[in-house]
């Protein structure tokens, strides 16, 4: 069933998109990730213009994080004060990201920059997760192995502007969460991702937040940052394709429910190893695209650039 996308201005198979949304939904249900970091590269591979893929990817993450936030709110697992600080940083980062995106588009380097960002972050996060979950699997086999301390005082705890985050049980400076939020907001605008895959490790390892509020607070921040990013992309570059987003969302919500069932059947360490392998596979695929000689060296962009 061919469908013409009004903003991407090309005709695609609607069922393929629905299926793609479904697969990403399954993954996000299984692993509790937004799935933006998988869907955006997949859209590149399908021939959707990168600008449209990134903007629409952000819109997609809004949909998938809404249901997540609702579930976390019920469990009272959202630290609102921390969420707002992260959000303030996130909005600033997103605005900067939108500006950089437009600037690199005129230079003709946006594809390269987006791909490099993906290779760098997916490679880093994937490797970290893989190492960590492999260690967890080993520890599970050897019950006598030493357990790491839950809360370590790093140098970030010496910075000024300290605030009490009661839900997280933290008394730390607002500077690190602001910076972390800004970094994730920037990546959200550039890569079309929610940034949960960076936010969650940052919250645990950098801010030392307790695991029970990490996912909810991260989703809360991701929801508002991607919402802001979507509107900004729509206003500055008119690249949000509503029809494309809706198809992917429909597939995604169905897939997410299936994924969460599958997720219940697997052990947490196994899940994390699987996710790490998948992240590394996407990273490798994009890296190959940069390293191997492309079939077509030339590309055409409409418009006149300086």
């Amino acid at each position: 069933m061919q469908l013409y996308l009004p903003i991407a201005e090309l005709s695609v198979n609607a069922l393929v998109l629905f299926g793609l949304g479904g697969i990403v939904g399954v993954l996000s249900g299984m692993f509790g990730v937004g799935g933006g970091f998988i869907i955006t590269p997949l859209l590149f591979f399908m021939g959707i213009p990168p600008a449209v893929a990134v903007a629409t990817g952000a819109n997609l993450v809004v949909a998938s994080s809404v249901s997540g936030v609702l579930a976390q709110l019920k469990r009272k697992a959202v630290d609102f004060r921390m969420g707002l600080v992260l959000l303030a940083g996130g909005l600033a980062g997103s605005a900067l990201g939108i500006w950089v995106f437009a600037w690199l588009t005129t230079l003709g380097q946006i594809d390269l920059f987006v791909q490099l960002s993906y290779v760098l972050f997916l490679g880093l996060i994937g490797a970290m997760m893989f190492k960590e979950s492999l260690g967890a699997l080993m520890r599970a086999r050897k019950p006598n192995a030493p357990i790491r301390r839950a809360h370590v005082h790093y140098s970030v705890h010496k910075l000024p502007l300290k605030v009490k985050f009661r839900a997280s049980g933290l008394y730390i400076s607002v500077i690190p969460p602001l910076m972390a939020g800004a970094a994730v907001g920037f990546l959200s605008a550039i890569m079309g991702v929610g940034g949960g895959f960076i936010m969650v490790p940052a919250m645990i390892y950098l801010l030392g937040m307790p695991t029970k509020v990490v996912v909810g607070t991260s989703l809360f921040q991701v929801l508002f940052v991607t919402a802001f990013t979507t509107v900004m992309h729509a206003v500055t570059s008119q690249t949000v394709d509503m029809v494309l987003a809706l198809l992917l969302i429909l597939g995604g919500v169905v897939g997410a429910q299936i994924g969460s069932r599958i997720g219940l059947m697997l052990r947490a360490e196994q899940l994390r190893i699987l996710l790490a392998l998948m992240v590394l596979a996407v990273c490798l695929r994009i890296a190959l695209g940069l390293l191997l000689t492309p079939d077509e060296l030339y590309s055409i962009a409409p418009g006149r650039f300086p």
Binding site: V66, M242, R304
Partner: protein
């Protein structure tokens, strides 16, 4: 057979008075299109345009070189940037670029004989008929030493995408009088006015030309979305957001009910 009947109808409906004739063989074009309007709707997968017509003449068919027909369909034109990747630090990235002043988004040529026979180089320059002459690429030499390579790449890529096409000897010409040409418009059409030009030539010289316009518009839902996105981007952005939130929330409620 259907074609012959159609063309006979055209031939019979020819007006009687003589028109002005630039070269002087007394031959002029009468032509029509199967449609003047292409609507891009949600299930648009491309469109086929039939260009049909006849050569009207007051005198008997002149002897000498045979009559040839060339038809072109040209989409909206605009400036383009062509970039070339090179390996830098082990990574393939865009390095050199050339700006093309004006290039049509779509260009199709059909002719009744190979263009080298049907058209002389001077007439091509005057009427901008072949693909390279339909693209205006003046002053590109200043941007890169090998600017023509970029122009070739542009044509090659667009040909692969079926945006540009050259179908020599595809025009059906009967007894130097009746002709038809079929041009396929792809699914990824740009909106705007598509100029259809018809030329009849003898010995490479244009005897007469004729122009028609096809309007390509998004229609219905597609048009509404596209207009909203460009005319009221804030409203469009917020609407996308509302849809996403509604879908996400609706799904979690619906599956919550199912689970109970």
């Amino acid at each position: 057979m259907k074609l012959r009947a159609l063309l006979c109808l055209v031939a019979m409906s020819l007006p009687l008075q003589a028109a002005d004739d630039p070269v002087g063989t007394g031959e002029t074009i009468v032509a029509g299109l199967s449609q003047n309007l292409v609507a891009i709707t949600a299930n648009f997968t491309g469109s086929e345009i039939l260009i049909y017509g006849a050569v009207r003449r007051e005198a008997p068919i002149p002897s000498g070189a045979p009559l040839q027909v060339i038809a072109t369909v040209q989409g909206p034109s605009g400036p383009l940037t062509v970039r070339r990747k090179e390996r830098r630090f082990g990574i393939w990235m865009n390095v050199d670029s050339v700006t093309i002043g004006r290039a049509p988004s779509f260009y199709a040529i059909a002719s009744s004989a190979p263009l080298s026979e049907a058209l002389s180089a001077t007439e091509d320059l005057r009427h901008q008929i072949t693909i390279p002459s339909a693209i205006r690429a003046v002053g590109t030499a200043a941007e890169a030493a090998d600017a023509p390579v970029f122009l070739d790449a542009l044509i090659r890529i667009r040909k692969e995408n079926h945006d540009y096409s050259l179908a020599e000897s595809s025009v059906n010409l009967l007894q130097s009088t009746l002709f038809r040409a079929d041009v396929a418009l792809p699914a990824n059409l740009v909106e705007g006015e598509y100029k259809v030009r018809l030329f009849i030539t003898r010995d490479g010289h244009v005897v007469d030309k004729h122009e028609e316009i096809i309007t390509v518009n998004k229609d219905g839902f597609e048009r509404w979305i596209h207009n909203l996105a460009h005319e009221q981007p804030l409203v469009y952005g917020l609407l996308s957001l509302v849809l996403a939130v509604a879908a996400g929330w609706g799904a979690s409620v619906a599956f919550g009910l199912l689970r109970r």
